[in-house]
Amino acid sequence: MNEQVKLTAKDWASEQEVRWCPGCGDYAILKAVQRTLPELGSDPANTVFVSGIGCSSRFPYYMASYGFHTIHGRACAVATGVKLANPELDVWIITGDGDALSIGGNHTMHLLRRNLDCQLLLFNNEIYGLTKGQYSPTSRVGTRSPSTPFGSVDRPALPASFALGAGARFVARGIDVNKKLPEVLKAAHAHKGAAFVEIFQNCIVYNDDVFGPFTDRKVAAEKQLWLEAGEKMLFAGGEKGIGFDQSTKTLKVVAGDSGEVLVHDPANRAIALLLAEMPADLFPVALGVLYEDPAPTYESAVVEQNRAVSEGKVADLQALLRQGQTWQVTKEPRVE
């Protein structure tokens, strides 16, 4: 790709007709990604979007880069092979709450643990969109769906704390239609290693407005805490902040000018966990980069070990064939 040519969002859009339901949050995420990539200076030839199966996983078809729409739950596994085979590629994983945390939960956990260098965007709509609205592992207790007509009874998984528990070194959150999403994506891209981004995505058909209690314009200020490294954890227009309750060792809401407001240190994993798990009724939802503490990446360690142990050895097939104890047979076969 010619460095001189500055790409635009349009250059990142493929010729494919986008086929999500009108009003689906996926459109906004697609636009945000297409807008962000030119700013990152990304090269479509060197960029690969790998997805599983779900509404969200249709995403790669709409990007004018390389794309691999794999099978349900396996995007992380396929992406691992892509990146190990060619560490130069810029790998984005697109997945849903069912794809990444139900059928593919195992692969998500291991990708994060290994710290493969990639961006993992989890479109969380708290529902199985593609299969017409069954509840998902992130659905809240009581979710009524075709498979839970009387309400779901099992407790949901929290994607951000799942990621932290699995050993992710970068955990962030964004909202489909929120203008700060590109900033979150840029931070994820800048992070070397597995960057886990949960995006709250509205499924207008099967789970409409499930995030309304914190995304609605009217409550946004009160219910959204946008984290900035080195900045105070303020919300509600600066009137409120997040402090630490020494007696209970948990977070608490404090007055914005109280002097108790915590300063966000993304490398503080313990606080990140508390931020990820703040109860929705009493607290705002923590957004932006909750946690970032880079560590060596998996593919770089693999490449380095492959190199180190190969040093001084030649790829001599004939020598390999002759390995071990050999013996020479000289005489002609007996002819009977």
Partner: protein, 620 residues
């Protein structure tokens, strides 16, 4: 044209006469080191120039309670001065390191065969554990055999006394003492074992020395005729063999080298994704040591991740390879379909074991043929090839890689627990004689599903400017590969995928008759590791004047083009298989021939005699 290659005829006449071939079975507790003993005996035997075949027979439990029948580990070797194709039917010699080993193995011993037993282990407690009420060495229950029983344990302790080892450590050398005796019995050189011990215990020289002392003591025990003339030394002449450089090889070794060779011939780095499972793991172990050949090995979190990562690697321009055994292959099924749809090269190795489910993890079977050929959702054809022996696995691996990259398709390579673990002498191939099939990645002016003369689509690596495209498991339009569900497109693409796999038959040899004639009264048709026993049985029957031929099929999907016509030239067709009749059904289906089953579902290879009996019956 049908060609009847009589390649083995010169040695046919000398085959497997009793005087020229001996079967020895070493059996003991899983902690007794029987596999090591067998392995070293194999090496010495190979170095002596005998042809041989081995059969390691492991217990399913890793740490089964000591002294129990289910903890018995055995290693059988058949060696001789003529071509050896199987590990032998009935042992001539059984080395039993404890009562359980005797109990489990004595029934297989040849009438009049020799038992060497360690009385040191025949305590009341061990006898009880093995389920003996009475000591069989002291009653006449073994009257049909020659028995030499003496205290190997005590003699081992005596031999290694000077090294000051603990009792437990000292007794670990029992297997070397026994090996020393066995080497004496068959006039074998001890030096290779000594060298091996020195290398193995380089960091613990006293252990090496103790083992060498035990080995020498066992040998001396035979030499000084303390056995009292019951055993005579036996010399087996070298087997006739093509001149050249030889080594012993197990299937897992030859397969790993074959994959390396295949990747080199294709000019590709290899990505090997796998998840441990018996008996497939040795391939992962071997390849993970060969990084200098441009191999990246990945122990995935499960078999699904193993194959998916290999598919991702193939997509990115490496040779993706994955391997497992039946249960793991089942998990890979959906992803194999993805590779079929996305038309990416991939080699899937299945080291078969007894099934279904967990089945018989350590026992051999060839019951995954249906799974290989048909075991996916949708119409999802893939080429399938099967190795017949450890040495043959090398050529099959190269062939699997060639088909995968030339036809842009997943290829299933079938081997089994027997092939993976068994060893045989191998004439070291000349790497420079292989025909390369270098891959050329598409660089410009091509559509993702534009097909070449073989019916293959181009291999386009991400990173290639101007060829950005999207692929996936959804049905597509021809040429462009854009998503399409139209009836015409689905029908056309399904046919294109079938045609491509059918076209593989253009690039494989016609089916030959490996022993016998191209038509006649009876064809014994086999695949995979049953090659040895079928071949020997047919050879023996032909020596007795019977009109029977042996056809061995390597390419199972697609079959060689002439196979149907060839089969129709025989009055009768029998298909011996270590399953309930899978190839038999495929042959009937594809060629409408009256192929008859002959099944052994015992977790054990066929015995030559069993197949010989079936031939006799069919021709009676």
């Amino acid at each position: 044209m049908v060609t009847a290659t009589q390649k083995l005829t010169p040695v046919e006449a000398t085959a497997a006469d009793r005087a020229e071939a001996v079967v020895v079975r070493f059996a003991g507790d899983s902690g007794d080191g029987m596999q090591l003993t067998g392995g070293q005996f194999t090496l010495s035997t190979a170095l002596a120039g005998n042809d041989l075949a081995t059969f390691p027979d492991f217990p399913a439990e890793i740490r089964a309670p000591q002294g129990t029948t289910f903890g018995v580990s055995a290693f059988q070797i058949n060696f001789g001065s003529a071509a050896i194709e199987t590990a032998g039917d009935a042992p001539d010699v059984l080395v039993a390191m404890n009562p359980a080993a005797l109990k489990v193995n004595v029934a297989a011993l040849k009438e009049g065969g020799l038992i060497i037993a360690d009385t040191g282990e025949f305590s009341a407690r061990n006898l009880a554990k093995a389920g003996y009420d009475d000591n069989p060495l002291e009653n006449d229950s073994l009257a049909r055999y020659k028995v030499i029983a003496f205290d190997i344990s005590a003699r081992t302790l005596e031999a290694v006394k000077e090294f000051g080892l603990s009792n437990k450590e000292a007794l670990r050398s029992k297997n070397m003492w026994t090996l020393g005796l066995a080497l004496w019995m068959f006039d074998r050189d001890r030096q290779p074992v000594v060298d091996w011990l020195k290398a193995k215990f380089a960091k613990k020289p006293e252990i090496a020395e103790a083992n060498i002392a035990a080995l020498n003591a066992g040998h001396a025990y035979g030499e000084t005729a303390e056995i009292g003339g019951q055993v005579r030394q036996h010399h087996i002449d070298p087997a006739p063999a093509e001149p050249g450089l030889y080594r012993t090889v197990t299937g897992a070794e030859s397969l790993s080298i074959g994959l390396v060779a295949g990747a080199q011939l294709a000019g590709l780095p290899m990505f090997f994704g796998s998840y441990p499972i018996t008996p497939a793991s040795p391939l992962l172990h071997h390849l993970s040591r060969l990084k200098q050949f441009g191999i990246t090995t990945f122990q995935a979190e499960d078999e699904i991740a193993a194959i998916c990562s290999a598919i991702g690697a193939s997509y990115a321009g490496s040779l993706g390879v994955t391997s497992s055994s039946g249960p793991g292959i089942a998990l890979k099924g959906e992803a194999i379909g993805l590779a079929v749809m996305t038309e990416l090269p991939l080699v899937i190795v299945n080291s078969q074991r007894g099934g279904p489910s967990t089945g018989l993890p350590t026992k051999t079977e060839q019951s995954d043929l249906y799974q290989a050929v048909y075991g996916r959702n949708g119409d999802a054809p893939i080429p399938v090839i099967a190795a017949r022996s450890p040495a043959d696995a090398y050529d099959c691996a190269i062939e699997a890689v060639r088909i995968a990259v030339q036809y842009m398709t997943p290829v299933m390579l079938l081997t089994d627990g027997y092939i993976a673990n068994a060893a045989e002498p191998w004439k070291v191939p000349d790497a420079s004689s292989h025909v390369p099939f270098a891959v050329r990645f598409a660089e410009k002016d091509v559509e993702p599903y534009q097909r070449d003369a073989r019916g293959s689509r181009p291999w386009i690596k991400p990173g290639t400017p101007g060829l950005e495209h999207r692929i996936g498991g959804i049905e597509k339009a021809p040429v462009t590969g854009h998503i399409s569900y139209t009836p015409e497109h689905h029908a056309q693409m399904t046919e294109e995928r079938f045609a491509k796999v059918r076209n593989v038959a253009d690039s494989i040899p016609e089916q030959d008759v490996c022993l016998g004639s191209t038509s006649g009264r009876l064809a014994m048709v086999g695949w995979g590791s049953t090659f040895g026993p079928i071949h020997q049985a047919v050879r023996r029957a032909r020596k007795r004047g019977m009109d029977v031929s042996h056809i061995h099929i390597r390419h199972i999907a697609p079959f060689p083009k002439n196979l149907g016509a060839l089969l129709k030239g025989y009055d009768k067709i029998i298909v011996p298989e270590m399953n309930a009749g899978q190839l038999k059904t495929m042959l009937r289906d594809q060629f409408l021939v009256d192929a008859r089953p002959m099944n052994k579902i015992a977790g054990q290879p066929f015995m030559i005699a069993e197949i010989e009996a079936a031939i006799e019956e069919a021709l009676a």
